[in-house]
Symmetry: C2
Subunit: 112 residues, 2 copies
DNA sequence: CCCATCTTCAACCTTTTGGTTGAGTATGAA
DNA sequence: TTCATACTCAACCAAAAGGTTGAAGATGGG
């Protein structure tokens, strides 16, 4: 909603929230399912999700008892444009991304 | 140095720090000159600069009494790659950037 | 209706963040 | 030497962030 650079970058500054975004990249998820891999309470995840909603990075839709979380990648666009003003980074390198994503999930979202 | 996604995104989450980066885009600057436009103490700016150094977003070099601050745009690359994994944003749109930059400077770095 | 499930709310706690002030260090200039 | 400039350090403070727990609100199922 607000989606200022402040709220977007601040939201991205937390590894739990980045992991959540990565998970939602694969599919929409219910709140409980989002929380499952993490070693923290459901309430804590609920707060993280609220922060992501506030940054415009996800939306939530309640169907029945279940609240579905959906990634909204367009919210990253403004931030991406801001960053690219600092350097001509090669546009989209998905190989690099896959590696970073794997590292992120490996470090932050493991439930071992 | 550390330059994890955590530290980079967290550093970018503060409008003062983003404004500093925008200023350094034009030229290297001494700490005192960086602080000048802001309505906060030099010590506060010094701390912000330390956070930016820690995130790898700037480097500092002391020559004589003066400590020069230099932008290190490459530190944004990893974060940029991460973000681009969430959407195929048009690579570099400097027009958009100029507008956001102007808005940022107008809102955050005014000393009226 | 009764119960289980999904999610949030409220109160609380600890740590971090972002700021202040005053003193201290290092350097250059006269 | 003496003084001003450039910057950081240390102590402190208020507010925000990130977590907990227990209770409560919706909703669907039997």
């Amino acid at each position: 909603m607000t989606a200022s650079l402040d709220t977007v970058f601040a939201a991205l500054g937390d590894p739990t929230r980045r992991a959540i975004l990565s998970m939602l990249l694969e599919d929409d998820m219910a709140v409980t399912d989002v929380a499952e891999p993490f070693e923290m309470s459901l309430a804590a995840i609920s707060k993280h999700l609220f922060i992501l909603v506030n940054a415009g990075l996800i939306t939530q839709e309640k169907r029945g008892r279940v609240k579905w979380c959906k990634l909204e990648p367009d919210a990253l666009k403004q931030a991406s444009v801001w960053m690219q003003g600092f350097g001509q980074f090669e546009p989209v390198n998905l190989d690099d991304f896959e590696r970073f994503l794997a590292a992120e999930l490996g470090e932050d979202a493991n439930d071992t």
